[in-house]
């Protein structure tokens, strides 16, 4: 089991008021799964994603990543978990605007202390994997939205993590580019990468093998009747 979250609670302090965001969430994901998490904005899905991505800590509960309890890890060790075992893809790509595609992809490799020559090689291969080998020297401003997101996916995958976390990966893309990104996810999943994706788009979520719903901080396997968790997208 790659993800095992038990009884996760998360409260935020707002003006001395404890606001519960996640309530008693338990979630298991097996290796090689492709999971979509749906929910309206404010439902807590990004918070859950941050906890899964070791960017945030829950108020209470337990979380094992590939059998290892990560909540007891120090900041430094969490950095290493994020570096080697998790890949992140964001809605707004988050590329370094002044760096070439190749340099953007090799950024995590430099954090892993890999020598320049090997960095270039591996980043080049990762770009090949997302079909952008010919755009290696391009700056983000010279790339289309879809290409930017594929560079971001190459960056997420360059350290060969087992888990890919995507937060609204098609949210800023037109339908054609969105489809390309989803095809890429499918290909990665076929190669054995576990994918957890947040979306509020039903059509995007339908690409996944399993769909979960978050409403008001609680998680459901099925969409509870009467509550709108997503909207019809154009994909």
């Amino acid at each position: 089991m790659i993800l095992n979250l038990q009884n996760i609670y998360k409260n935020y302090n707002q003006d001395k008021l404890e606001v519960p965001v996640l309530k008693n969430i338990s979630l298991q994901v097996e290796e090689g799964e492709y999971v979509a998490i749906m929910g309206p904005s404010g439902s807590g899905k990004t918070t859950l994603m941050n906890i899964i991505g070791c960017l945030d800590r829950p108020t209470s509960g337990s979380y094992e990543l590939a059998g290892e309890s990560v909540l007891s890890l120090k900041d430094r060790e969490l950095s290493s978990v994020r570096l080697n075992r998790i890949g992140f893809v964001f809605q707004s790509f988050q590329l370094m605007p002044r760096e070439s595609a190749l340099n953007n992809v090799s950024l995590p490799l430099s954090y892993a202390g890999i020598k320049k020559k090997e960095r270039r090689e591996r980043a080049g291969k990762a770009l090949e994997r997302v079909g952008l080998a010919d755009r290696a020297t391009f700056k983000p401003s010279q790339l289309s939205g879809g290409q930017k997101q594929r560079v971001a996916i190459a960056r997420a995958m360059v350290n060969n993590p087992k888990l890919l976390l995507a937060d609204e990966p098609t949210g800023a893309l037109d339908s054609k580019s969105g489809r390309q990104v989803l095809e890429l996810f499918q290909k990665l999943n076929d190669e054995g990468v576990t994918i957890v994706m947040i979306t509020h788009d039903v059509n995007v979520a339908n690409q996944a093998k399993r769909i979960l719903h978050i409403i008001d901080g609680e998680i459901y396997d099925q969409n509870p009747a009467g509550i709108e968790t997503g909207e019809e997208g154009s994909v």
Binding site: N50, G53, L55, D56, D75, R76, S79, S80, R82, L83, N84, F88, F90, S92, Q94, M96, R98, L107, P108, S110, Y111, A112, R155, A156, N159
Partner: protein, 417 residues
């Protein structure tokens, strides 16, 4: 590290105007300090040059009574000052600091030296040994120098320096002419001149009193015939040539110590002492430095202001790049890496400022020297220290912004658009 440097230069280059304005405080501060230090160094070198002259590194070791040299024109010869023998002299020349040494006696004579009716008033008469001219870097310009026979056969010959030749002969060729020293005839056989003619730079009356050289002229005769115009058994003086300018103090002190070891005087205020030109130079230097030191502190304030400016811009830069920092942390950058990146950027920024500051400072120093006749000397160690110091400023004032960046919460940072 290398990656951080590349990123820093890229960041600085992409905000050229902002980076330049940020550096300006550092540039002005460093430039001011370099200009001041160059002026101090230039003045110091000039003081030393003026006092020591160029190249000869001569130190006189003379017999003192109390704080004054003994003038044998008026005073009697003190008891217990032995003749400086060959052995004693060898002891001195064997000193590590001493290149060569020579013995001499001298008088300032107001009414003793004549050529026909012309008097060399206030001139000096030197009774010198064989090594004197070599030790003092005196070269024969006309005629000949002293030869062994002059000493062994008591030849009454004299050699003039240029000043005395001019004063006595006024352009006439002095070689072969006879001059009188205390009514004794001496035949002029040569004219000598200093190997390196050195004119001290004199900018004020004060400088004149401190540095002006006596130009009354000198007449040299072999020591063997000294007793002819003057007295027997007058104590000898010593002049040593030190191996280098920095050895002058040591050479003088040690030689004086050796000579004093042979004294058996009853009056214990009588002793050999070396003139210490370096020490004298240092005292004058300290006087001139103390005023300029204040200026360095004032320039230091500019550096402080510059440092605060750097801190301010770095804080802005951290805020601007919040989402970049968030992303980097999300994909696995550790705190220390973020800290390193921002510290490097800040240090590169101020180091560049330091380099520009040194260049501007050098130009400023040259301009000052052109405009005001102040001597300047660029000090390489000071320039290097200035660059290192500006790097330290960058690190110190970059600490707070870098620390802030390193401790940004990645979630907050990522949400920041």
């Amino acid at each position: 590290m290398f990656e951080n440097l590349r990123l820093s230069f890229q960041g600085i280059w992409s905000h050229k105007l902002r980076s330049f304005l940020t550096m300006l405080g550092i540039i002005i501060g460093i430039a001011a300090i370099i200009a001041i230090v160059s002026t101090i160094k230039g003045t110091n070198e000039q003081i030393e040059q003026n006092l020591i002259g160029s190249g000869s590194n001569n130190v006189n070791v003379q017999l003192y009574q109390g704080d004054w040299t003994i003038d044998f024109s008026y005073e009697s010869v003190p008891q217990g000052v032995p003749v400086i023998s060959e052995e004693i002299l060898r002891e001195i020349t064997d000193l590590e600091e001493v290149e060569s040494a020579a013995l001499y006696r001298y008088r300032q004579d107001y009414d003793g030296v004549y050529y026909q009716n012309t008097s060399l008033s206030g001139g000096y008469v030197y009774g010198v040994d064989r090594d004197y001219f070599i030790t003092c870097d005196l070269l024969v310009q006309k005629g000949r120098g002293f030869v062994d026979k002059d000493f062994t056969d008591f030849h009454k010959v004299a050699i003039l320096d240029e000043d005395s030749a001019n004063a006595l002969f006024q352009g006439e060729n002095p070689i072969g002419k006879t001059i009188e020293v205390r009514q004794q005839p001496f035949v002029v056989v040569g004219v000598v001149t200093k190997k390196d003619v050195f004119e001290p730079v004199i900018n004020s009356m004060e400088d004149y009193y401190t540095y002006a050289q006596d130009s009354s002229g000198k007449v040299y005769i072999p020591e063997a015939v000294w007793p002819v115009p003057y007295r027997y058994d007058e104590p000898q003086q010593l002049v040593v040539k030190a191996g280098s300018t920095s050895d002058m103090t040591g050479a003088g002190k040690k030689s004086a110590d050796i000579l004093n070891g042979y004294l058996t005087v009853s009056d214990d205020t009588v002793s050999y002492r070396s003139e210490n030109l370096l020490e004298q130079a240092k005292q004058i230097q300290q006087l001139s430095e103390s005023t300029n030191r204040m200026l360095i502190w004032i320039a230091g304030i500019s550096l402080l202001v510059g440092g605060i400016g750097v801190m301010n811009i770095m804080l802005v830069s951290v805020t601007e790049r919040t989402s970049e920092i968030g992303l980097k942390k999300a994909i696995g950058a550790r705190k220390t890496m973020i800290l390193g990146q921002f510290l490097t950027e800040s240090a590169v920024l101020t180091s560049l400022g330091g380099v520009f500051g040194v260049l501007v400072g050098i130009i400023l120093a040259e301009v000052i020297s052109k405009l005001s006749d102040m001597p300047v000397a660029i000090s390489i160690p000071a320039a290097a220290a200035a660059v290192v110091f500006s790097m330290v400023i960058g690190i110190v004032f970059g600490l707070i912004p870098s620390y802030k960046a390193a401790n940004l919460d990645p979630i907050v940072a990522l949400r920041h658009e």
